[in-house]
């Protein structure tokens, strides 16, 4: 694997992460924010894999497994929250939830 390929992969990973962040920030629908979060998480995942491949090390993939676990748990909890909020507030707008307002 060439250094250029690694660089490209890293750029892609950064782009994915940034896109995810943009999604989280810009969208107000909780579902969309969750999807964007998945996108954002896939960026680091790609970075781990690419770096692991570059160094010929299994640890990259090991980390990927952990990221995957994290994503799964997060989606599960996030969707449960989504349903819960929808039921209690009757809306899927994340701005409607502001109990932490100072």
């Amino acid at each position: 694997m060439t250094g250029t390929a690694l660089t490209g992969m890293m750029i892609v990973a950064a782009g994915l992460f940034a896109t995810g962040v943009f999604g989280v920030l810009a969208r107000r629908g909780i579902l969309f924010q969750l999807i964007a979060l998945e996108v954002a998480l896939s960026g680091p995942a790609l970075a781990f894999i690419a770096a692991g491949a570059y160094h010929g090390d299994a640890e990259g993939q090991g980390m990927f497994v952990l990221v995957l676990t994290l994503a799964a748990a997060e989606v599960a909890v996030g969707l449960a929250l989504f349903l819960r909020i929808r039921r209690s507030k009757g809306s899927d707008d994340s701005d409607a939830v502001s109990g932490l307002k100072g």
Partner: protein, 155 residues
Amino acid sequence: MALIAAALAVTRYNVVHALLYLLAMLLALAAAFFALGAAFAAVLLIMVYAGAIVVLFVFVVMAVGTSPQAIAREREMLQRSWPMPAAISVLVAAPFLFGIGEQAAGNTAPIAAQAVGRLLFGPWAWAIELASFLLLAGLIGVRHIGRDRAQEPEE
């Protein structure tokens, strides 16, 4: 390819479209993993993400349903406030992009699934345990959050 799909995924107004683009992004990513010699990870990605997580989303969307009003509202909301997040995400990405320099050539051999397994269940056993606890906590949390209070008289 993955980037375009990702960009589309976060900008769609319809949930189902967004999900489809997410799926496309994940497949593109899996292809990239294959290319990087991480077959195990690619398979895992497709199975867990595309198979489980996206399906979970779909279930929820089906349960909640989608409506033209919701789509219209999403559109309105996004059009109103996109520049600021965009600027910030550029700001986040910029240091990465500048920080990445040209690298020397590295290893090209694919990494076998056995290696990953040996790593995970050898030195990283604690990490696995932690991850499993995370999943367990997520499970319990979902059960707790998802409970319908109206049906429980004591609360």
